[in-house]
Symmetry: C2
Amino acid sequence: MTSRGLDSNLTSAAAGAGWAERVVHGDRRALARVISFLENEDLQGVDTLKLLYPRTGRAHVIGLTGPPGAGKSSLADKLISELRHGGKTVGVIAVDPTSPFSGGAILGDRVRMQGWTGDSGVYIRSMGTRGSLGGLARAAHGAIQLLDAAGFDYVLVETVGVGQSEVDIVRVADTVVVVAVPGLGDDIQASKAGIMEIGDIFAVNKADLPGSKRVITEIEMMLDLGMHPYWRPPVVPTVAATGQGVADLVKAIQDHYAVLSTADRLRQHRLEREKEAVLLRLGERLRREILQAWSADRLSELWAALAAKEIDPYSLEDKLYHRWKGA
Amino acid sequence: MTSRGLDSNLTSAAAGAGWAERVVHGDRRALARVISFLENEDLQGVDTLKLLYPRTGRAHVIGLTGPPGAGKSSLADKLISELRHGGKTVGVIAVDPTSPFSGGAILGDRVRMQGWTGDSGVYIRSMGTRGSLGGLARAAHGAIQLLDAAGFDYVLVETVGVGQSEVDIVRVADTVVVVAVPGLGDDIQASKAGIMEIGDIFAVNKADLPGSKRVITEIEMMLDLGMHPYWRPPVVPTVAATGQGVADLVKAIQDHYAVLSTADRLRQHRLEREKEAVLLRLGERLRREILQAWSADRLSELWAALAAKEIDPYSLEDKLYHRWKGA
């Protein structure tokens, strides 16, 4: 914002009001444009969100994550069917942080292909990495808020999850579904990245394959040893290809929401996430500003000096701090 | 530093030089004082570290973590014996973030009781939470650097580990030993908190108890499914009470160090940790400064306004940023 004058800030705020109006009235093209603003860090995106924030908090936000190949996209497709069947509307954010070049299009297309384009109760948007992973998480959070404000009953955020960034993206959800699958060495890569720890529900997909019983047992064993103050995550076998188990999965999602909605948990959960998000964004912003106060070459020299012990880490910290605070 | 004048900064730097000199010459009382400075955020602590930083990097830093009751203190005691037996000196930092009031004294005392006070090749210091957990991690990292600079061959940092702060404390180590134990529902509390993911070596202690085979199998299964580019973490059964398996554990620790020392891995590992620590400390410092720009009451009001949707998170972020940057 520092690089923009007052006039352009006012223009952006005025534009934001226009976009907000259109989003609230169900304008799909406006939705798409505002999400693009968020991706491109165009101020109009955040200005729209500022205005729409009071309208958020009505959607049930579901996170869906798991290793590549677990069948998350097919499962998402069947989840949408089941929710639509119940008369609910669904907004979907399909995030693929691992494919900077596809812009996440593969995931999104796979879902879109199933033919939701004609259904006004479903909106699907794919997002990929354009800049930093931190930037993607920020944009994805904004997109979730936008779909919430637009009035969708459910917002489904799907990520190809193996790293911290995916964890950061889905953990803002009210309910996190972790998809595991037999026969992929990958499933506990997910554990390594901390994905198993954030699951409120585990879907063991491709449950018709040999080895699914073992995966279920492994997850149950992990859960036996964890601490679950008010909700023990259920493990739900599914076969996305046939739709088997999907009704059970929806039931588990709704049960979780019901438990979360009692005793002020949902409000507290969301406030904690929102506080954390504010401080995280601030931290990211400052970290970026601090590092941007140096040229890439000069910054490499500083790290090299640290490695060579020509500068100590405390003096380096002061140097980074003062150069930036003085700027 | 902003609250101190130039004179007191010079005095602190001069005092730091005095302390550094004494630490290098093996003065135990000086070591103890400088660690207290670090705990109390007295500038003399960091000033001493700045001067000693060029002398760091010679010790092999071992992290020892695991749930309460796993027998870490007894195992630490036997590890010290084994290392002393090989003619090596050992500095120990025993951290107990869960006991703010004991000042970590229980852990430390338990080790100290074994009678190392007469041995000039061993130095043991306990640390507990005085202020924030972030502050403790910072002080513990400083203490590790100090013992390294003081010339100890090994620095052993022990934590009662169940949370993120313990992970932050031990992950600066070159080699992380995670202690598990049969029959404690607790061991995968550790997993929940991400502790299993940081282990370079797993010690299954109390291996003479029934159920230890099962714990070993569980850990091996987790490891089977993880990714280990150059080092597959070994699982070592130990019985700290009798010393059984402790020689194997020391062997595993030394093997890990040997693998880490090839192909520039150790230097890169340490530089990454050091960079991360610099940026983490900066982030913490800024977060603290940002929040301290408000009274506790006013800050609670801000969060309440966010929950009530009277302010949106983006405007709140700007508000926090500008108030602080302008200050």
